[in-house]
């Protein structure tokens, strides 16, 4: 049952501040120990670069503005191999340019984080307006068949928390992690009380414990994870975008290639419970579920509160990790609902995943709300859709 608490007017405690989404990402980067940023500033992500250009040099870090996003992504990979937690931030057009090197980070198992503050596309599109057109690009944008971890915050506070989490996952699983944001969240400000970084568990990459001559750059354990030496620490290793053996040298032996591609996949699927996060809001007795990510979920929550006031049993499922897709949790939570409403700021991306996971439902049980004109989906549009299906 929905918890309808009547709260007395509450004053905020004194440490609350007004903070912007992009600012929260930059702050989290500094707090989690990022020492390198290479990028090519682009709206609506520019503030991340702007802030880090000032902050990194003051925190023993390096900021480089590169000539484009291809070189930015390559520089980030190089810096990470040298041992620095590395970050870049971009938007759709730059994200496309980064895709090849993103694949290199995946196959070379180099930790790094890419923030994509999405705008309306395709191409230059609407630089200052929101869009959720990169949901599939974040998963499938790079060629080949690589793994993907993609996180998606819905608030300024969560932008901070998920930036830290993105680095933790990238360090732990030795892969690039993508933080997808909405233009509105990147640019908006809200009152936040951020927990001190000491309240978070910060994960750093596993270092080799063997002497340098025994070191293998890709020596996996039972969880498909492997320690990572940095350049300059006395360990010799080879890094390539070619398929490689445990030492990192190119191979075309099917057995060795199979070990490599299996590890790329298994380190995600074997550890999926550690990677996936999903929020369930008023779902306990819900007959209608809204499935939404990022800023759209906030319109959904407003709509749900209004509908709940009228006794309508509706709730929200919101993945914080959108890739790997939280299949198990979504299937379980949608089993008992009659209708699923999928609002998204594009012409249909999340909907495909929901259709895939709800084979028991008919077409009329799945309701689309799609908007790709630069405007947000409003609470009222979602509310109307709820009224139509109940």
């Amino acid at each position: 049952m929905a918890k309808e608490e009547v709260k007395a007017p509450q004053e905020l405690e004194k440490d609350w501040v007004l903070m912007q989404g992009n600012e929260a990402v930059a702050k989290a980067a500094i707090d989690v120990g990022v020492k390198f940023f290479a990028g090519y500033p682009i709206t609506p992500s520019t503030e991340i670069a702007e802030i880090l250009a000032e902050e990194l040099p003051l925190n023993d870090g390096v900021y480089i503005q590169m000539e484009d996003e291809i070189s930015s992504m390559c520089a980030v990979i190089g810096a990470s191999l040298a041992g620095a937690k590395s970050l870049t931030a971009t938007s759709g057009p730059g994200f496309s340019l980064m895709q090849e090197a993103i694949g290199f980070a995946k196959i070379s198992e180099t930790p790094c984080v890419i923030v994509n503050v999405q705008r309306t596309g395709p191409s230059t599109g609407l630089p200052t307006k929101p869009g959720q057109g990169d949901i599939m690009q974040a998963r499938w944008g790079s060629h080949g068949d690589g793994p993907a971890i993609v996180l998606y915050p819905d608030s300024v506070k969560e932008a901070y928390e998920l930036t830290i989490r993105a680095f933790n996952l990238s360090e732990k699983y030795r892969t690039c992690v993508i933080l997808l944001m909405d233009e509105v969240l990147g640019h908006m400000r809200e009152a936040v009380l951020l927990p001190d970084i000491s309240k978070f568990r910060v994960i750093n990459r596993l270092k080799p414990t063997v002497p340098p001559e025994w070191y293998k750059h890709y020596e996996e354990d039972q969880k498909y994870l492997s320690p990572l030496a940095s350049y300059g620490e006395g360990y010799r290793f080879h890094v390539t975008g070619l398929a490689h053996d445990a030492h990192g040298f190119p191979t075309n032996k099917p057995a060795e290639v199979k070990t490599m591609v299996t590890r790329l996949k298994k380190k995600i699927t074997h550890n999926i419970r550690d990677i996936v996060q999903i929020e369930s809001f008023m779902m306990e007795d819900a007959k209608v579920a809204i499935f939404a990510v990022g800023i759209v979920s906030r319109a959904a929550k407003s709509a749900i509160l209004k509908a709940r006031n009228e006794g309508l049993k509706v709730g929200l499922l919101r993945p914080l990790t959108i890739w790997p897709f939280p299949d198990e949790a979504v299937q379980k939570m949608l089993r008992n609902v009659e209708t699923v409403i999928v609002p998204e700021l594009n012409q249909g991306q999340l909907i495909h995943e929901i259709e895939r996971l709800t084979k028991d439902k008919t077409d009329s049980d799945i309701v689309k709300i799609q908007k790709a004109n630069g405007e947000l989906i409003t609470p009222n549009e979602i509310y109307k859709s709820i009224k139509e299906v109940i």
């Binding site: 709260k7 007017p9 509450q10 004053e11 905020l12 405690e13 004194k14 609350w16 501040v17 007004l18 709206t43 609407l126 630089p127 200052t128 307006k129 509105v184 640019h187 908006m188 400000r189 809200e190 009152a191 800023i295 906030r298 319109a299 929550k301 407003s302 509160l305 947000l376 409003t378 609470p379 009222n380």
Partner: protein, 185 residues
């Protein structure tokens, strides 16, 4: 906005064109709300141009969690261009406050007792020597009229949000806005 109903949610839209400083005004208003220990969101919409084009800032103040960050039904609407006034007027709540710069906005197709027509740009030019602080002048006016944030929090927020060289002129604009509001109240 009576004082005993503190938990009411208030939605404010500051609208006009790019370059008028509306987003900065929105940030200042939001920061003032935090100083008042309220929950607040400030969002914005603008075009790719540095100047010109429609621009707006939305500020929502509440003591509860705010989900949707854009203003949909305004308690206060500031319109500094005719286009903005025409576009947003009908989303003003029945009891909402409309503040316009009547040196720019000439037609208001709405009858309400809560319309304030003030030539902010002209006043800024005459009394502050520049049209630049029009944003703070009109913001201070609507703060005084509505009481949405306290005057001392607004002052603090201005001091924190503008470069030190411009604090004096903006504080002058704020005071002028407060004084103007007394005349119109």
């Amino acid at each position: 906005m009576s004082k005993n109903k503190k938990c009411d949610k208030h939605e404010v839209r500051l609208s006009g064109s790019g370059g008028q400083g509306l987003i900065l005004a929105g940030i200042i208003l939001a920061r003032a709300a935090v100083h008042d220990k309220k929950r607040v969101t400030q969002s914005q919409s603008y075009g790719p141009e540095s100047r010109g084009g429609a621009s707006r800032a939305d500020v929502i103040v509440s003591c509860e969690e705010i989900y949707y960050p854009e203003a949909t039904r305004f308690d206060i609407l500031l319109a500094l261009t005719q286009e903005a006034c025409d576009k947003f007027l009908f989303d003003l709540r029945e009891e909402g406050i409309l503040v316009v710069d009547n040196s720019i906005v000439k037609n208001i197709s709405l009858l309400s007792s809560k319309i304030y027509e003030v030539p902010f740009t002209e006043i800024a030019l005459e009394q502050l020597g520049s049209s630049l602080p029009t944003n703070i002048l009109s913001l201070a006016f609507l703060v005084k009229i509505s009481g949405i944030v306290s005057e001392q929090s607004l002052k603090k927020a201005i001091e924190e949000s503008v470069r030190s060289a411009f604090i004096d002129v903006n504080l002058k604009a704020m005071k002028l806005g407060f004084d103007l509001a007394k005349k119109y109240k």
